[in-house]
């Protein structure tokens, strides 16, 4: 049975790209365009891992991270952001890993693989 991944991203084109790339890797992928949708989908879909887009200083994004962890604290969450300096932000420590957004998905794919092993 293939592993399930939820991708949260408000850019629909980007979302479609992630979905296509991860499906090509053999994952079952669900998508959400915002925080509340993410929690709904997560409850029903029960993903093994979440890739969460967080904008710098966005309260909602951090709340979604904490809500996702409350749902299942053992389920890994990878933060996916445009900002490289987000890695040092205390609030993001709850996440299991961190990826800077890039057109090259190699890093994201390898981190997903590591966390799901």
């Amino acid at each position: 049975m293939s592993r399930k991944i939820l991708i949260v991203e408000d850019e629909s084109n980007l979302l479609a790209l992630y979905k296509a790339e991860l499906e090509d890797e053999g994952y079952e992928v669900a998508t959400a365009e915002n925080g509340s949708q993410a929690l709904d989908v997560s409850e029903n879909f029960e993903p093994d891992l979440v890739v969460l887009d967080i904008k710098l200083g966005d309260e909602e994004g951090l709340r979604v991270l904490s809500d996702l962890k409350n749902q299942d604290k053992n389920r890994p969450v990878i933060l996916n952001s445009a900002y490289t300096h987000y890695k040092h932000d205390f609030s993001s420590w709850a996440a299991d890993d961190y990826v800077v957004k890039s057109g090259d998905m190699t890093e994201l794919k390898s981190k997903i693989k590591n966390l799901l092993e």
């Binding site: 408000d10 850019e11 084109n13 479609a16 445009a82 900002y83 957004k101 890039s102 998905m105």
Partner: protein
């Protein structure tokens, strides 16, 4: 008829005796000297008139009468002499006043210190004025506590007195003409005497002779023959020594300004007390003027300083505005980087997918179309940034707002996907002419409609309406989209503030700038869940014209 009971007021007042009652006829009224007043009264006295009439009627000499008439004539002759002296005094006063008037009027026409002192010295030396042969002016240097030679009228060497000076002294050129020429800046030649006295600096202390003494004591001095004690300065002694000379201080209300030294080397004439007195009057007027001019000059210097400061402040303000712009530019770069990041990630991702698909021989049309879309988005961001930062040159023409809306709508129909959007147009029938740059206004309309479409997630109704209110015409773009809360509305015109997935955050700031450049403004009405209305007001042509006139 003569009143026999008339009583002489003189007799009553002075207790004297009327001459008609006196047997000793050698005197009149018992008084040796009679005054004009007494003569006047006796002539009018009825008793005297009767006595005179009787003596004339009898054709006989009356010793009393002839003695009285003789005395009367003497008094009248004295009176005449007095009158002549008074007239001469009066004439002199009129002359003096005329000179002062000419000088004062000339002073009113100039604010140049050089001209002022020239006018003053011309007053001192011109024949029609005080008429002294030579005059030298010293002014106090308060910082150095010295008297410094400024200007000399006349020559050092008496034999070299030129024709111009003679003309001045002989009055061939009238005094007012002379003054007028000085005010015009003529007769401005540096003479030998000026060159000499300009080198003379005398400390403002009494032991340095009569010149500082005149200034410190505020007194005029008239010397029969100036000694080397009077002029310890060698140059001054060589000019004025061993001759009659006068020194008159120039004192303004509360402080000493300088002094003038005068003499008569050509005529050799003694300097009269009257001349010194005239010179004092002239000095007093000159002092007031010189003081005024010095103050004026100081004021001008202060004004120049203030203007300089003002310029510095303005420059500083410019720098601050620039610094602020740099900060804004810094934010702009940061946000811009973020804005272009997403399209770049998408382009990068789909390019790699396309590469892989192409290698397998799969169709890559889908990937390419996404890439093309994202590139368009990048172009849009670039265009908006350029629009925002560039200074707009407005090509103002009288245009109808209705035509701007319809023309923009045509463009939009070609560019944006409007499948599920119902555009309802309700244009005013009035002629809504505004003075505006059509292409820029179209940009505003385009931005607002583009925003409306985004707000409705590409599904809903857009209402385009136009109308007028006092002084303004307006157009409105209203949507049935998601609407905005107050906080979002308050930040709408901030550069890069965006709620759109694909927005640059510059459409509204650019639109607002364009509208403001036209003298207009934008009103926003929005409710979350209900939609938003943007109403753009532009001054009507009447108002633009009125503004131009002001």
């Amino acid at each position: 008829m003569v009143d026999e009971n008339y009583e002489c007021p003189l007799i009553q007042k002075d207790g004297g005796t009327c001459w008609l009652d006196i047997t000793d006829q050698g005197s009149f009224l018992g008084i040796e000297e009679i005054s004009r007043d007494q003569v006047n009264r006796c002539i009018q006295c009825p008793r005297f008139q009767q006595a005179l009439g009787r003596s004339v009627g009898r054709r006989s000499s009356d010793r009393m009468i002839s003695s009285a008439v003789n005395q009367f004539l003497t008094v009248l002759s004295n009176y005449n002499t007095e009158l002549a002296a008074m007239t001469s005094d009066l004439n002199r006063n009129v002359e003096e006043l005329t000179v002062l008037k000419t000088v004062t009027e000339a002073f009113l026409k100039t604010y140049d210190l050089n001209s002022c002192v020239r006018i003053f010295l011309t007053g001192v030396t011109a024949g029609e004025a005080i008429g002294l042969n030579r005059a030298v002016l010293f002014l106090v240097n308060h910082a150095k506590r010295t008297l410094e030679g400024q200007l000399g009228f006349g020559h050092v060497d008496i034999s070299r007195y030129g024709s111009t000076w003679r003309e001045i002294q002989n009055g061939r050129m009238s005094f007012p003409d002379l003054i007028a020429r000085i005010v015009e800046g003529a007769l401005d030649d540096e003479n030998e005497l000026t060159g000499l006295v300009k080198r003379v600096h005398v400390p403002l202390r009494d032991e340095f002779g009569i010149l500082p003494k005149a200034v410190t004591t505020n007194r005029s001095y008239r010397l029969e023959s100036a000694s080397s004690d009077d002029f310890p300065d060698r140059t001054l002694y060589s000019i004025f020594g061993d001759r009659p000379v006068a020194i008159v201080p120039i004192v303004s209300k509360d402080h000493s300004l300088g002094a003038v030294i005068v003499d008569n080397p050509v005529t050799g004439a003694e300097i009269t007390e009257q001349q010194v007195s005239k010179l004092e009057t002239l000095s007093y007027i000159a002092a007031a003027k010189i003081d005024n001019v010095i103050l004026q000059n100081q004021l001008e210097v202060r004004i120049a300083e203030l203007e300089h400061l003002h310029r510095l402040l303005q420059d500083n303000q410019k720098y601050m505005v620039e610094a602020e712009r740099f900060v804004e530019a810094g934010k702009l770069v940061n946000t811009l980087a973020h804005e272009i990041k997403t399209p770049l990630v998408i382009i990068g991702g789909y390019s790699r997918r396309a590469e892989r698909a192409h290698a397998k021989g799969d169709d890559i049309t889908h990937e390419l179309s996404i890439i093309t879309n994202e590139i368009s988005r990048l172009e849009g961001i670039a265009r908006n940034v350029l629009d925002y930062s560039r200074k707009r040159a407005l090509d103002l023409k009288e245009i109808d707002i209705n035509s701007v809306l319809t023309e923009t709508l045509d463009v939009i129909k070609g560019k944006l996907s409007l499948d599920k959007i119902d555009i309802k147009v309700n244009l005013s029938n009035d002629n809504l002419e505004v003075k505006a740059d059509k292409s820029w206004l179209k940009q505003v309309v385009f931005n607002l409609i583009d925003n409306a479409i985004s707000a409705m997630k590409k599904r809903g109704s857009i209402f385009l309406t136009t109308g007028s209110k006092t002084g303004y015409h307006w157009f409105e773009v209203k949507d049935t989209g998601i609407g905005m809360n107050e906080e979002t509305v308050s930040r709408l015109f901030e550069p890069f503030f965006t709620t759109k997935e694909t927005g640059s955050g510059l459409g509204l700031p650019v639109s607002e700038r364009i509208v403001a450049d036209h003298g207009g403004y934008i009103e926003i009405d929005s409710k979350p869940g209900e939609g938003s209305a943007f109403r753009v007001f532009l001054p009507d042509c009447g108002q633009s014209d009125r503004k131009e006139q002001h």
